[in-house]
């Protein structure tokens, strides 16, 4: 019983990280129609930026955190401007290829700059854990959940009560109608990428804190895909819930399935779920039905 609760709690924390990555992914997909395979890499780069700011420039954690968000956002905006903007009218198929290229590029460039070694993350959160009876919850996990909840609320307020947020929703609903209403779709696209990259960076920092800082973090980001598909590609609550479910399942499978089916089963299970969702209900839990006009 204690194992179950313990595994569930760490699953929720992991799930929150997936949720954040999935969130950035859904934002880009909804607003610009691009299936962004580089979201996991954006997350990884964010964590590395924070790492360098703290260990090499000696910034205080809070300052470094803020600077990371800004820098990651700039990187996202830069990618949109340089790479995706010129290709904006290409079919989605082409854009996916481009993001695959981006993911490859970002991962290798990170390895080139910071090497492929594993680093301990310079965490401002202390190592301790809170004991609750037989179960102990690391402080990092609690922070992760708190940050995710806070960010979700912030995003909700942003999308519903600010001009920019409303404009983003308008672009997501209908790009051309939004343009006719005087919204600069170009600017919204760039901002969406910046926002997604910043969200990814937060996810990356939390993930690096939960585990380690490593260039394979991008692959962990790929596991946010099952979360996105499970939640429904275009749904923000779906992404949050999907992330939680995948995190929980992974964590529980790590405890109960790995001994039976061999190590690493929990890492693959998310993809098995992905395949099942795609076959049974491709629109996911909250997705709209697909329709196509000729």
């Amino acid at each position: 019983m204690d194992t179950l609760i313990q595994a569930s709690l760490s699953g929720i924390a992991l799930g929150c990280v997936y949720s954040l990555v999935a969130l950035g992914f859904v934002l880009i997909y909804k607003a610009t129609g691009v299936l962004n395979f580089a979201q996991g890499e954006l997350m990884m780069v964010g964590a590395y930026i924070y790492f360098s700011l703290v260990t090499q420039l000696g910034l205080t954690p809070l300052l470094a955190f803020g600077a990371t968000l800004v820098l990651a956002g700039l990187l996202g905006a830069l990618i949109e401007r340089l790479v995706l903007h010129p290709l904006v009218d290409e079919p989605p198929f082409t854009l996916v290829m481009v993001t695959i290229g981006l993911a490859t590029l970002l991962r290798a460039a990170t390895g080139m700059i910071w090497s492929h070694d594993t680093f301990a993350f310079p965490s401002p959160i202390s190592e301790g854990a809170i004991d609750m009876g037989e179960v102990s919850v690391p402080l990092v996990d609690m922070w992760t959940v708190a940050v995710t909840v806070a960010l979700s609320l912030l995003l909700f307020v942003f999308f519903h009560y600010t001009r920019l947020g409303t404009a983003m929703r308008a672009v997501a609903q209908n790009r051309y109608a939004a343009q006719l209403m005087g919204i600069s779709v170009d600017r919204i696209f760039t901002f969406t990428w910046a926002l997604a990259a910043s969200l990814g960076a937060i996810g990356g920092m939390l993930l690096a804190d939960i585990s380690f800082l490593h260039t394979n973090m991008g692959f962990i980001g790929l596991r946010a895909f099952p979360a996105v598909v499970l939640g429904g590609m275009e749904s923000i609550p779906g992404a949050l819930l999907g992330g939680l479910i995948i995190g929980l399942i992974e964590s529980l499978a790590g405890v109960y399935l790995d001994p039976i089916l061999g190590g690493g089963t929990h890492q693959v299970l998310a993809f098995v779920i992905l395949l099942i969702v795609l076959m049974v209900r491709p629109t996911g839990l909250f997705g709209a039905t697909l329709e196509k006009r000729v």
Binding site: F93, G101, T104, A108, G111, G262, F271, V272
Partner: protein, 351 residues
């Protein structure tokens, strides 16, 4: 007859449009290609010896994968990010059949192709319900699951230790050197290229192109979407399976880290760089992607003075990523399209 000699590219009937070799000139070029391929090892031996031949063999194997990938990506417009996994299925099938059960080479290659094709059909089944982009996710999932099975099914695959595979033999003659293997790989690549050319101009190939351009419209004119999509996936996987078994027999050792996501991406790069939907493009793409890293080894040292952490796989990945993005942005028809335009420029020169 006079018209066709005057306007060389003019097609006057459907039968003519469907011919494999439309003119005597193309027959001549094909003959020259065969002779050139047969003579290549001597040229290679003069220039760079066994190493060069080794890269040529790898190119031939890569070309087979690229041909299959191009059918999927270029003709049918379906994405696969799991072709390295199909390659792995073919390689392990060949390894198990040859080293455990002692099957002869020709049988293992054929069976690898068939079995991988069958698995391709199964993996392609989600393609029936979902759009092309989701298929990328499904195949990516397959890649990770296949990796996991290979590492964990130790009794069958040797797990992380990999497997030893015997060299292909014909009677008592073993194809155990680079030169000898070349005479398996190159003819097989050529044959499979011809088969693909035939496939593309058949009803099947045209149906796939129709699906790529608009699946709804294709269905409306009577193309059975389910059948053609799964079949395209199966054939593409079968090509990868054959290439995988060749690779296993050539390397004579296979392990789980030979078949990574990065490799799957490189096969996509081959098609994009070579030219989607073109046979010539598949081959050019395979040559480009296989040779580029070999050329880059020279640049590696120079770059390392700036980036002390630089390792070769990173450099390779960076160039692949860049090449992918740049070709999509500036040369969407790939090398084959560039070649076609150069040829048109000179045939119409000085106009």
């Amino acid at each position: 007859m006079t018209t066709s000699s005057k306007y060389r590219d003019l097609v006057t009937s459907y039968e003519e449009d469907l011919q494999l070799f439309r003119t005597g000139v193309s027959k001549f070029w094909f003959g020259l290609l065969v002779v050139g391929l047969a003579a290549l090892p001597w040229a290679a031996a003069e220039l760079g010896g066994n190493y060069l031949l080794y890269v040529v063999n790898l190119t031939a194997i890569a070309a087979i994968v690229a041909l299959g990938m191009n059918l999927l990506l270029g003709c049918a417009g379906l994405i696969s990010l799991g072709h390295a996994a199909f390659l792995a299925v073919g390689a392990y099938t060949a390894a198990i059949l040859a080293s455990r059960l002692g099957f002869p080479f020709w049988l293992t290659v054929t069976l690898s192709g068939l079995i991988t094709g069958g698995i391709g059909v199964i993996v392609g089944l989600p393609a029936l319900r979902i759009k092309g982009l989701y298929l990328g996710l499904a195949t990516l999932a397959f890649q990770f699951i296949a990796d996991h099975v290979i590492v964990n099914a130790e009794q069958l695959t040797g797990g992380a230790n990999g497997m030893i595979v015997p060299a292909p033999t014909l009677g008592s003659f073993a194809f155990d050197t680079d030169l000898r293997f070349y005479y398996i790989a190159a003819p097989l690549a050529l044959l499979m290229g011809l088969a693909m050319a035939n496939l593309q101009r058949s009803r099947f190939g045209r149906a796939l192109v129709a699906i790529r351009d608009s699946d709804v419209a294709a269905e409306a004119v009577g193309v059975n979407l389910a059948r053609y999509k799964t079949l395209a996936f199966g054939i593409s996987a079968a090509y990868a399976g054959v290439a995988g078994s060749l690779l296993a027999h050539y390397m004579r050792y296979i392990g789980p880290d030979h078949f990574t996501v990065m490799q799957s991406i490189e096969y996509v790069v081959m098609v994009i760089v070579g030219g989607p939907g073109s046979i010539l493009g598949s081959v050019l793409g395979a040559i480009f992607v296989t040779w580029l890293p070999e050329v880059m080894r020279f640049a590696e040292e120079a770059l390392r003075s700036f980036f002390p952490h630089l390792v070769f796989p990173d450099l390779r990945a960076i160039v692949m990523g860049l090449v992918l993005i740049l070709f999509i942005a500036f040369e969407p028809e790939g090398l084959a399209g560039r070649w076609r335009r150069i040829r048109e420029y000179w045939t119409t020169w000085p106009f």
